[in-house]
Each structure stands twice: as structure tokens, then as C-alpha cells.
């Protein structure tokens, strides 16, 4: 106890500075930080502040880097689809030629009217050497909608593309044997076009319409049109820090705290910082020879310093993972992200396939039903 007290006294000024910076940042907010957390975290309802491990820890709690050993490298790519996206692609194949005719379009737009078609994909390269890790991630989300203002058709489009390079390190202070800490620095290049409807006196409207009106030769061409928002998006640059700490508790429990985008300067302002508090329980078990299994349960509370009410930011997750040595070869995860279910499955050795299911209900436009996302990806790891 005395030891803890002395450590606290030693670091009290630093804690004060951190607190001042943290709350100072809140007063000068500009943008929401990158959403990418990694496949494993997304599958567990975006929880894992106290349990995340390996390179994904760069994005949720860098303290999870501290136990890394040896070296590794992996690359993955995935893309997400859902039924609305496919409906749009199918509809556009038949009807995109009417996109410039108001009355003809109104007669045909019913199947997709007011629905927002999302398309997402991410490409990741990441690796580590001992407890030093890096990641280069491109995470993109496009939205497209054919909607009505009141009686005439308008287009809706949105885009958020984050290209981030992150590097970090975890460590375990000798003076605090149960503690692990970590940090990550990031460089961010963002293209964004906040999702919104556009009408006939908006320049963006015509760019979107002309793009959709272009000929397409396959359904993938039609899907590609959804990326039209990139033609009207605005770029921005930023850099910042993620910080985190974990503390092991008795009986397999762990507590964690992380400060993401703390601070991240972006486009002349700050990003919303995010604080995550989490607890986890982990228990190892072996049922297959040569494999180590672990069951993990997480409960996180997130403070986003944004408009969302505090009580909506609960993340709950559970996962069973199997490893051969330090290599992850299987994962089954379930979770609730703010109450919305998530599910993830991953399997493979060196070459992994994974599937991620998420849901959201955050849209605001008429017709924006509850959306289910299916993300399919592949990972090559060494």
C-alpha cells in the first residue's frame, strides 16, 4: 500500500496534467474519432477494454500490447454487405437511366425509396515486434439513398474514410506488478462527407446523379456507384494519442481504462476523446490437444463526450478463442453493442476466414430501417 501511495504521489502532477488536457479537449471538440476497433472487438459488442490483446489493442487499449512476445505480421481485408445494398444494386441495374427524370423516377423508386444503402470495407496491415506494434488501416463507410424531400426525389450520400497509421507500445511497470500500460500514436487522413440529403440546388446533387447515371456492366459496378460520396468528400488530417492501462485482479478478473484520441488534433480542432472503462473475466481451458482455449467475458462503459446519453454506452461481450502457441486459430464471439447484437466467427491457420455480424439503428431518415451488416474477410498472418 505504501508502495502504491508513493507511486501515486510521484505521478499526481502527471495525472493532473492529463485531466486538464482531457477536459480541456472536451471544450474544443470537432470530430468523432476513428471507429475502427478490429474484428475481435467488433464481434464482442465493441467491448474488451480490459481484455484486448495484440495489435487490436492499438485501437481500444494499448495496454494490451504489453504481453506481446516475438514478432508477427498479418494483413486482412473485408467488405460488408446487407440486404438494402443488394436491393439498391439490383434496382440501379434496371432503373438508373431514369435518375434524371423526376416523374419517371417517382414511379419507380418505391422499392428503395428513403432507404439508406451502406457499404463498408476495411483493409488492414498490422504487426508487432515484442511489445511494439503498428497498424495501417483503411476503414471506409459509404451511404447512399434515394429519398423524397416532400414530393420530389432527392439524393442522400455520406462517407467516412479513415486511413490511419498507428504505432504503440505496451509495458508493465516493475513498480506495479499487476499493472500493464500502453500508448499508441496515430496519424489520420480522413475523407468525410457527413450523410445528408441533397437537392436540386446543391452542387453535390448533380455529381451524385451523374455518377449514378453512368453505365454499369455488372452488379459490382452498381455497388461501386455507392462510393460516389468520395467525389464530394472533404479531406482532413490529424494526429493524436491513445492511452490505456489494465490491472489484473484476483480470480481471472481484469479491469481496464483507456483514453482514445487523447488528444487527437484534427483539421484545426480536436476530436472527441473517448474514455472506456471495462472489466473482464477470463478463464483458460484445454479440450483439444495442442490448443489453448480461453473464454472471455467483457463489460465496458464508454464515455464518448458526444451527444449520446451516458446510459446508452454499454458494451457487453463474450468470446471463446483457441490458440496454437500464440497464434489465434479460432474465435467465436457474441456481444451487445449499446443493446444491438454482434457476432463473430474466425477460423484458420495462417490463412483465416472470418465473418462479422453487426446491427445498428442509428439512422434518422424515413425508411432507414434497422440495419444488419454482414462482413466477410480474410486474414493472412505470419
Amino acid at each position: 500500500m505504501l508502495e502504491w501511495d508513493s507511486v501515486m504521489k510521484k505521478h499526481r502532477p502527471i495525472a493532473g496534467i492529463i485531466a486538464a488536457l482531457f477536459f480541456g479537449a472536451v471544450s474544443a471538440l470537432a470530430s468523432v474519432g476513428p471507429k475502427y476497433r478490429g474484428f475481435e472487438v467488433d464481434g464482442s459488442g465493441r467491448s474488451g477494454t480490459a481484455s484486448v490483446y495484440g495489435e487490436p489493442a492499438l485501437f481500444l487499449n494499448p495496454a494490451g500490447l504489453s504481453d506481446l512476445k516475438g514478432n508477427g505480421f498479418e494483413t486482412s481485408a473485408d467488405f460488408g454487405v446487407n440486404s438494402v445494398l443488394l436491393d439498391y444494386a439490383s434496382w440501379a441495374a434496371k432503373n438508373s437511366k431514369y435518375i434524371k427524370q423526376i416523374d419517371s423516377l417517382l414511379l419507380r423508386m418505391e422499392p428503395v425509396q428513403n432507404k439508406w444503402a451502406p457499404f463498408s470495407n476495411s483493409v488492414v496491415m498490422q504487426g508487432h515486434y515484442q511489445d511494439f506494434a503498428f497498424a495501417l488501416v483503411e476503414d471506409v463507410r459509404y451511404d447512399l439513398s434515394l429519398s423524397k424531400a416532400v414530393i420530389t426525389p432527392v439524393m442522400g450520400a455520406g462517407m467516412l474514410s479513415d486511413l490511419q497509421f498507428t504505432a504503440g507500445r505496451g509495458f508493465a511497470p516493475a513498480a506495479l506488478p499487476d499493472w500493464r500500460m500502453g500508448f499508441a500514436v496515430k496519424y489520420l487522413y480522413r475523407l468525410r462527407f457527413p450523410g445528408r440529403l441533397m437537392g436540386t440546388t446543391d452542387d453535390e446533387f448533380y455529381k451524385v446523379v451523374n455518377k449514378i447515371n453512368q453505365p454499369a456492366h455488372s452488379i459490382m459496378d452498381q455497388i461501386a456507384k455507392i462510393k460516389v460520396a468520395s467525389e464530394v468528400a472533404q479531406p482532413g488530417l490529424g494526429f493524436g494519442v491513445n492511452l490505456g492501462a489494465m490491472r489484473s485482479l484476483p480470480n481471472g478478473f481484469t479491469a481496464g481504462v483507456s483514453f482514445l484520441d487523447f488528444h487527437t488534433f484534427f483539421d484545426g480542432g480536436f476530436m472527441y476523446p473517448q474514455m472506456n472503462l471495462g472489466g473482464s473475466y477470463a478463464r483458460d481451458f484445454d479440450i483439444l490437444e495442442g490448443m489453448h482455449h480461453r473464454v472471455i467475458a467483457n463489460l465496458d462503459w464508454q464515455i464518448p463526450f458526444s451527444w449520446e446519453p451516458w446510459y446508452k454506452q454499454w458494451k457487453l461481450g463474450a468470446a471463446v478463442e483457441g490458440r496454437m502457441g500464440s497464434r489465434l486459430v479460432s474465435l467465436v464471439a457474441l456481444g451487445l453493442n449499446d443493446g444491438y447484437p454482434t457476432f463473430a466467427l474466425k477460423i484458420g491457420y495462417i490463412l483465416n476466414l472470418y465473418y462479422l455480424y453487426t446491427a445498428e439503428e442509428t439512422g434518422t431518415y424515413p425508411g432507414q430501417y434497422k440495419l444488419s451488416f454482414h462482413k466477410i474477410g480474410i486474414t493472412l498472418s505470419f
Partner: protein
Amino acid sequence: MERKHRKWIAAAGFSAAWMLGGCNVFEPFASKRTSSLDYRGLLIRGNDALNHGRYVEAESLFIRAQRKYPKGSEAYLFHAQAIVAEYQLDFNKLKLEFECRRASRDVAKCAANGIDTNGIPFIHPGTTVDSIERIYWPVAAAVRDLNYILRSSKDSLVLIGGYKLPPDSGQASDGRVTAGVARLDLGLLLAINGMLAPLDMDQNLHITVTCGTNLDIAYADSSQAVRDSVKRLKCGDGLLSEQIRLDNFKKLTQDVHIDNLDSKDVRARNMSVNPNDINAFIASMQIPISASQYNLDSVHSAMVINSYTQGQAEIEGVIANVRDLNNFLGYMRYNDTIDDDYDVDSLNPPRKPTAYFWHNFDRDDIAAGGYKDHGIRYDYNDPMYNPAYPSSGDIGHPLHRFQHFRFDSNPLVNSWVSDLYLKYSELGRRYPGLAVDTSKNSRFSLMRKKCKDMLMNDYPPGLNDAGHILVCDSLTTVLRNDAPRPARSDWIGGNPGVDEEMIDEYDNDYDGIKDEDARNYVGYDDDDDALMTMSMLGTITPANSGTLSMIWQDDSVGPGHKNKCIDIDINIPMANYADSAFGGNPDTTAQRAAQRVFCMGTLEHRLYLARKAGITSLNPDVMRNPAYRDSLRNYYTVAGSGDPTSSADTGKNCMDDVRRHLGQDFKNRWFPMTPDSAAEVNLACRFKHIWLAPRPANSEWTSGVYGVDEEKYDCVDNDGDGWIDEDLIDRRSGPCWSGIP
């Protein structure tokens, strides 16, 4: 694991589950109880209701969202969507309503959709208050919502026609819905809103049979007297005012062709029988129509810049209709000493314009021909005047223009010129907006069309040859600034083109529009019903015009004659009036019903004469004594153009007056007394209300010219012409207009 640790784990798990449950983690965002939803939750829940056709619920949720976060533009947009969806209004339906009023319409398609091809969109003979309410309410509500989104500027928006939209309070300014989203829809909906707005007399966004009930709430803090006067002002016909206005509006617009606008079928009386209401009526239409044009022009410009050709084509028809209607309405404003219809040569040097002062001296003067042509004779001494074509001397008339059109062969000129009239090119330089408007309903197009129509339809060969037609295509009806005012002219003073029309439903200046930019001034015969004669020519100037005003005093002598009309003989007791009209031993009720029978100009008097002697006196001997004249022709102006003894032509408003303005008590007593009331009415209506006989010695008319400023401010049709308080300058305190806040 130790037993006590298991207890801790179990307790922690229970606590976590309890906490999560209590904090709605397991309850999706939009599934939360509606009573505690925040702004975004209300939007999501509202949209869920909208998606599933529960429109009323959606509207309620969006209204709550508006109250929760007034700057939230989405709540206003979605509310407009919900209300329009509830009433099944859509773009194609709206567009078809316009298309069906154009010559290019698909008649079969219009018929299949039950859309009338005459009049203005959504108004047809079968329109009821309920059916029009189902159009007007969603349109008006959507317009209100979209205006909240668009009008976030702190500056006033100046609209075409000079109207200003004041800045709003910046509501719905969060930018989530751009102006570009709302503008096209606002433009289209405003067009409908503007066309129907005059029906919403109490301005509560509804057209109902309970006009004014909203005013009790709006003026709850005012006295009952103020509330009553406001209601009387807005809903002059009581609860059914909007119903009555709709009926009149249908008649007003039934012959209007929005694709081919001219005013030949517009009857201002159907806007209001009180001309003082006309500007308000026009304003209620033109403000939204102007705003519509502003928004649609903005959209169209953006479409042109971005080569959005198909979209352009789809809205161009509507834009053209709206622009035409806006221009047309602008021309109709009256009595403002402003050149509302762009037909004044520029004032050089600049000076304050004055109203065009003119009287129609030769209209009913038998000695002068009694031409009844309603035009403005330029020069009674004109040696080129041809009496065979009485109107050919009128200002603006095609033949008059022809007389003042010649080819100047001077090498420096070498073109057609006019000493009196501006050429189209010259007027175009004065008003560039007119020059660039080449649509078929433009000011110039209507002027040309009117000229050619007159020549082709009203005049024989020789007067409609190429030379005459050339005049139509070359000369406007607008007098040059340096055109001299002849000594003997209907034009007495002022600037030609400023409040130049009478409210008489005639195109006094032959420019293709009637009753536009009309007037109402002291000393004027503003409604073409004054007994002007050639003997007055040269004696009347703007300065002494006030002396023309007709002086009469209701109930000047005998009791019972305070009947708000001009009694012919105040020495005759009212009981005798009633006895003459109804016979028997008339009680006070009958006397009241008969009180207008012996008033000058009243329809009751004409009906009486029609029954008594008809057109020509029954007793020529009696006719020698003016006191016993008993026929219509002895007292009144012939309404039609033919001989009233053989022609059944009636005054166009008279039949309407019988239906609408005759007292019900009079009708109940009068018409059962004859087996053929229709014939009697037809006989009476072959004559207008204009009194031609000498001033009766014992009448309430004591001096002045009959028909000049003849009304009193009493909300009553004193002279029997179907209008109330016309030929008066403006509203003022009195029995009718008192208490106007």
C-alpha cells in the same frame, strides 16, 4: 474456486445484469417508451410510424421533436413528409393538375384522373370545402415546415413584385437538411398554396365552414368587441365565409386558363364585392406565388448550370405558369399610384407619378353618341376620327394606333415611327424585364394578341389587313411621355398608365388585361357608372375634381328612409313603398323588405319597373310628366349592346346580384307574386344600375354627379351595382371598418 469467490462472482453478475437492464442496454434505442424519447429518438420513432403508414402518429412525434429541438431541420422535413403522405399528395398528381390546364394536355389522361381542364389546379365545379381542405391543409402545412428550414437568413428576402419576406427567428437552422433539398418542393407547393390561399380567410391553414373560430384563441386577450371586429374583417360572411369564398372563387377561376392568361374572363367581383379587399386578395395570392417563383427560378438556374435537362423540362411548364400568374397578379394591384403593369413611359425629369385622371364623357351622353365603349377618347377634335368606328379614337385602340403610325423615310430614321405611342423596342428599353419575357403570356404577347383579336373579330376587311396587323406587332398601347394632352379629351390630367383602369371589367386601355392597375380616388368615376356628359368636358381638372362627388344623405328628412340607399322621394312614407311593392296592408316587416324598392339604381327598383311597365311606358300621356315616368328605359342605362326591347342581353353581373345580393325577405315576398319571375328578372337586368334620369326633386341625392364617389362607408351596396363601398378611397373608421386593430 473458493465458495466465497463464487458468491462474489454471482453477486457481481447479478449487479451487472440489473444495471444493464435498468440502463436500457437491452432495449434498442427506438424501442424506448415514447414519453421519454429525446429529439433523435422521436425522429426514429416518427420515421418508423411513417414507414408503416401510421401518418398521424408520425406527425405527432415530429411535432414533439420540433418542440424539443426547434433548430432541428429534419423534424420539419419529416413532418411535411408525413402530412403530405397522409393526404396522398404527390408530385405527379400536382404536375398533372397543371398539365391538364394546358393546351398540350392529354385529355383522356385528365379525364381518367378526374381532373378538370378549366380554371386553376385543384379548383373545379365539384370542389367542396372538404375536398379542397384535403389539398390546402397538407400543402400549407408543408410550406410552413419547409419555410422553417429555408428561411434562416437574418435578412429580408425581397421577392418579385416588391414583396418582402421578413427574416425569421433562425429556426430549423441546424443544416441537416440543406436548402437544396427543400427548395424545389417549397416552390411547387407554394404555387398551390398561393392559388388557394385567398380561401383561407382566417389564415389558420385550413379551409372550413367554421371561419374565424381560431381568432377567438388568437385574440383571447382582447375584448369581445375587438374579437368581433377582427372576425368581421376576416370572415365578413360569418362562419361560412370560406365556403362562400370558395363558391365565388370557382366562378372567378372557372374560365381562367393558366396557360393562356388574359383577364377577359376574370371577374373581380368574384374576388370580393368590396374593391377595398382586392389588394388584400391579390396579396394573399401573390406573396406565396412570388416566393414560389423565386424558389423555382433558383432550382431552374441550378438545373441549367448543371445541364440537368430532363429535370428542367419537367418543371418548366409549372415555372412558366407560376411566372405568368405572378406577373398577372402584379398587374392587378390597384389604387397605389404606382405603375404596376409597366405601361408608363419613363418620367423625365424624374418626378412622383400621379394617377391617370380621365373620365368617359361620351359613354352615355346621347348627344355625343352614347358609345358605351369604355375607352379613353384621346381627342374629340381629331379630324381623322371615324364615327362609324366609335372606339377608334380611344387611346390604345388598334385603329388609333394605326392612325398615328407612319413610315419615316428620312435616311437618318428610315423606319416606322409614331408620334403618340411607344414601339415595343422602346418600351422594352424602359422595362428590360418585359423585353426578355417572350412567353406567350408575357406583357407584350398579351398586348399583341389583344390587338389582333380585335382587328380580326370586330372589324371588317380593310381594317384587318397586313398594314393594320403591322401596328399590332410594332406599337404598344403606351403613350409616349411627350404625347400632348389635347384640350378636348377624356384624359384630363396625370400620368397615363398609373392606376389607369376603372374597376368596370373592361379593358379600358386595350392592352389585353382588364381592371389591372385600377384606381379609386376622390372625384373620379372609378367604376364607370357616373353620368358624365360632354358638357362637362373642359370644365373638370384634377384640381376641381372633388366638386364632382355625388352628395347624398341617408334619411335626410323623413323617418324610415334611413335604408342605406338613395331614396328617390323622401316624402313618400315607407308604408306606401311597401304597399306599392307588395300590396295589402304592409306591416313593419314588409316595409323593411320593401325599403330599397324606391331607391336609385337598386335592383329592387329595376324589378319593380320591370313588373310595372317594362321597358317602355304603358301610358305615354303620363310619360310627359317626369314625375310619373314608370319604365326602365326612362331611368336606366341599357346593359347590352342591342335594343333592349328586342335583345335579351343582360348585364353580366345582374343575374348574380339577384341570387346573391337581393334581400331574402324581399325575394320571398316578391317573386311568388308573378308566374314568370325569370322573365321579369331578365327584363330588369337588361338595364344597368346607372341612373340616367334627371335628379328627382325630393331625392336624397342633393348635388354632384351621380356615380362619382357615390358610396358610403357602410358595407352596404348603396347604389345597387352589386359592389359594396366601391368608389371610395380606402377603409376608414365607420360602421363597417371600426375597431380594425
